[in-house]
């Protein structure tokens, strides 16, 4: 029974390691630029080349209030209306995978 117990723990840990490895091995990447026509273009991805499709994207105003919630398309990109005043765009890829870009850093 003791041996079977160890075996179960080993299998469990191996399973966790196997599933956890990809998440630990890549870094989220996010970039936005100003299209110059009142819209901004944002794109996301991961350092291993995997897709960021479906990742939630938040647009917040200067006080942190959420103005818009959307997600990256199948091509891991999204076009947004450029808010008036100060704003931030957030790539919300979950714990450890969040990236914020200030509107002041989004250029043409």
């Amino acid at each position: 029974m003791k041996t079977r117990g160890y075996l179960f723990v080993c299998v469990l840990l191996t399973g966790i390691a196997a599933f956890a490895a990809p998440a630990a091995a890549h870094t989220p990447l996010f970039s936005c630029f100003d299209n110059g026509d009142g819209t901004i273009f944002c794109e996301g991805g991961f350092s291993d080349g995997s897709s960021a499709a479906g990742t939630p994207i938040l647009v917040k105003d200067g006080s942190g209030a959420v103005l818009l919630k959307t997600e990256l398309t199948r091509n891991s990109e999204v076009e947004l209306e450029k808010p008036a005043g100060a704003y931030t765009v957030v790539f919300d890829g979950g714990d450890g995978h969040q990236i914020e870009i200030s509107g002041s850093q989004i250029f043409e």
Partner: protein, 273 residues
């Protein structure tokens, strides 16, 4: 006396042979970019180690970039020939016809890999009584999201990297596969040269002094062979640019004379901070 001339000819051939290592240079100062933007590229047919004779480039046949963001991204091809402008490139005591391309920000803006392909017109080499045509690739990345850096493009002569050409530390190794029309070329002959003079982007010239002195001609142009699957690996002992040329990858004909098809790939190496 006969013996003297025989020795002189042999020595000339031995010492002179590295000068025959022609490389189509396709250059921009940095290939791992945090952000995209306007770009300036120089296209020079030269000898990168000795920085000497600059050969007159024939009109460019093809010049384009294939961009892909992510492994599952869709590759997008953009023709760049409209951005080419003829320039004169000055090397050590010599000048020749070359080209530059000023690309607007919209071309290299998005994250991902950008694979630049240059197919120059065939260059006639009188010594060999044949033309040379070097299918040249330069790769850069914006933002760190990889894409198509390892994808063959099916060129008649091509070096397909097995390591990212824009992300190499000094002291690392670089691997690749020599291909013709998308198929490996067994036992391909390769030459490796270090870009020994910094290209001056404003003056269209190789700047000042060489970065390294070779102890022997065999170190100027390093000759290696691929294995029977067309694969090769080289060391990267110094930061800067290393040019890899695969010779005799294929043959075609131009103006009634044979054309030796060759493949060139440029690799940028960075020192640890």
């Amino acid at each position: 006396m006969k013996r003297f001339w025989l020795i002189a000819v042999v020595l000339t051939l031995l010492v002179g042979s590295p000068a025959l290592a022609h490389y189509q240079l396709l250059y921009t100062p940095l290939t791992a970019l945090e952000r995209g933007g306007e770009m300036l590229l120089k296209l020079v047919f030269t000898h990168p180690f000795e920085g000497g004779h600059t050969m007159d480039m024939a009109p460019v046949q093809e010049f384009y970039v294939v961009h892909q963001r992510g492994e599952e991204g869709e590759p997008r091809k953009t023709d760049l020939k409209e951005h080419l402008k003829q320039i004169t490139w000055t090397s050590q005591g010599h000048a020749g016809k070359a080209y530059e391309a000023r690309l607007p920000a919209r071309i290299v803006r998005s994250m991902g890999d950008y694979v630049f392909v240059l197919v120059p017109g065939p260059y006639y080499e009188p010594a060999d009584e044949e033309y040379i045509q070097q299918f040249t690739k330069l790769m850069l990345n914006v933002g760190g999201v990889p894409g198509n850096w390892h994808q063959p493009l099916g060129l008649p002569a091509e070096i397909v990297p097995l390591d990212k050409p824009y992300a190499n530390w000094t002291g690392g190794i670089f691997r690749g596969v020599v291909m013709a029309d998308g198929k490996p070329v067994p036992n391909a002959e390769l030459e490796i040269e270090y870009l020994n003079y910094t290209p001056d982007m404003e003056k269209n010239a190789f700047a000042g002094k060489p970065k390294i002195e070779a102890p022997h001609p065999a170190f100027e142009t390093i000759g290696i062979r691929a294995n029977n699957r067309g694969e090769f690996a080289i060391g990267l002992p110094k930061a800067g640019w290393w040019g890899i040329a695969a010779l005799g990858v294929g043959e075609s004909e131009f103006d009634g004379k044979p054309v030796a098809r060759e493949a060139v790939l440029w690799v940028q190496v960075t020192d640890l901070p």
